[in-house]
Amino acid sequence: MDLFIQLSLTGLTNGAILALAALGFVLIYKSSDVLNFAQGEFLLVGAYVIYAMIAQFGLHWTIGMALTILVSIGVGVTVERLVLRPMIGEPIISVIMVTIGLSSLLKAIVSTIWGNQPKAFPPFIPSQPVRVFGATVGLDRLWAIVIAILMLGLFNFFFRRSKEGIAMRAVADDQQAALSMGISVKKIFAWAWSIAATTAAIGGALVANIVGVGPELAGFGLRVFPVVILGGLDSIPGAIIGGVIIGLLEAYTGGYIGQGLNQVLPFIVLIVILMIRPYGLFGQEIIERV
């Protein structure tokens, strides 16, 4: 029983972090139909920036975190401005190719500045073990879960209640019609990319806190794909629940059956779910009036 709770909590934390990275991915897809292959690199950049803030400049983690968020907003706006704006009006597939290029570029920039060696990293979020239902788990892992839940609530509110959020969904539905009511599509894209970079950076910071920083963190971002396909590419609750499902599955298979299989099983489940629900669990179905 202890093992079960232990695995559940580990799975939930990984899931929460996956969900944060996936959230940004969904956001970009939702507002612009673009699959962002550089989402993993956003996570990487976030992790290294917080590493620099805390380990190299010796800032307190709260200040470091705030600065990391500011940097990510900057990264998002810059990417939108320099890479995506010239692509407005081009076929979506070209834009997607550009994000693949962007991912290599970001990776290269990170390894130029910080090198390729993994770096240990003093955990900055207090990580003393706490007992939960008889199992022992690091406090930092609980923090990751709390932060993910907060972000979910925040985003849900943003998209349902705020004018900018509704405008963002409107742009996703019909760009030209949105333009005709004075919604600036460029501004909305900049918003989407900044928020995506920010959530990925928060995810990156949480991962870095647990395992340290290294170039292989971008691989963590790769696991975003099964999460978003499972949850539905355009669903925010889907990203969260997809993240949790994948995280838990990995933890359970790793703990009960053995390491190795846990890398594969999520994909098997993914295929089964997609056979039953091709839009993903919560994906938006195409509305057809008859």
């Binding site: 019909d174 019609a177 005709s180 600036s184």
Partner: protein
């Protein structure tokens, strides 16, 4: 209020769609713009509202002035802020948003955070939308979607509302209802309306002044009463012909008249 002066629009750098289009819309009036498919009506509206750019269109000559200010190089978002709102052809509601969210998106350019006054106003014109406020817009009926499209425009409280074929694909009863509401909006709120239509009879019924467009330019203009009397308009737009004339002769005349129009 709105003046188009010899406007030329070219798509993709080669296709000349508007060939010296000139027209005027006076404040507080309903102005009709009639014409058959491909005459350039929608292009005219898009040229005014700045929506040509995403379609690779461009105003290459002439000028568009709104309240004495040239707007043919202004961004679409700024044109909405100046008070021109285009209700696009084919309703174009945001399908995955609810009715109320659609309306809020329409009021995007309003400064105040609280849009409840605007919402109440729209619901007073379209009580049916109030019943459907929480429903996903993609599942509304065609008539309700058209009401939503007009309601969305009302949310922005525009000075000039441009409607692109609001009768498209609707039952005659509904078309009457919607035209009645357009008239009411014009009278009660003083909103100037530019109405693009293929349904000549209805348009001449509500408009204060009308233009007829063929092949990228205006070929005829006048007060509805005068246009109704015009032989060409009667035949080509209202489907009325003189009874009792010999067919063969009329066919020849028809061909010649048609040709003159198109040249």
């Amino acid at each position: 209020m709105l003046t188009l002066n010899n406007v030329e629009v070219i798509y993709n750098d080669v296709i000349l769609v508007l060939k010296g289009m000139s027209m005027q819309v006076a404040e507080g009036k309903i102005v009709g713009l009639l014409g058959s498919n491909g005459a350039g009506k929608s292009t005219t509206l898009k040229a005014i509202s700045g929506l040509l750019k995403p379609e690779d269109g461009e105003v290459t000559d002439g000028s568009i002035e709104f309240l004495g200010e040239a707007i043919h190089h202004t961004d679409a978002a700024d044109i909405v802020r100046k008070g021109i709102f285009q209700v696009m052809e084919g309703r174009r509601v945001f399908e995955h948003l609810t009715t109320e969210e659609n309306l809020i998106a329409g009021g995007y350019t309003r400064r105040d955070m609280n849009l409840s006054d605007e919402l109440d106003m729209v619901y007073s014109y379209f009580p049916r939308l109030k019943e459907r406020r929480a429903q996903t817009a993609g599942y509304l009926s065609g008539g309700e979607q058209q009401m939503l499209a007009i309601g969305r425009a009302l949310m922005a409280q525009p000075k000039l509302m441009m409607l692109d074929e609001p009768s498209l694909g609707l039952a005659p009863m509904l078309v009457m209802e919607i035209f009645g509401i357009i008239k009411r909006i014009n009278e009660e709120k003083g909103t100037t309306i530019l109405l693009v239509e293929q349904n000549a009879n209805l348009t001449l019924g509500v408009a204060d002044y009308a233009y007829i467009m063929e092949n990228g330019r205006i070929v005829l203009e006048g007060y509805p009463a005068d246009l109704r009397e015009n032989a060409d308009v009667r035949e080509f737009y209202l489907g009325l012909t003189e009874v009792g004339q010999r067919k063969s002769y009329r066919d020849v005349k028809h061909y010649k008249r048609r040709k003159r129009w198109l040249s």
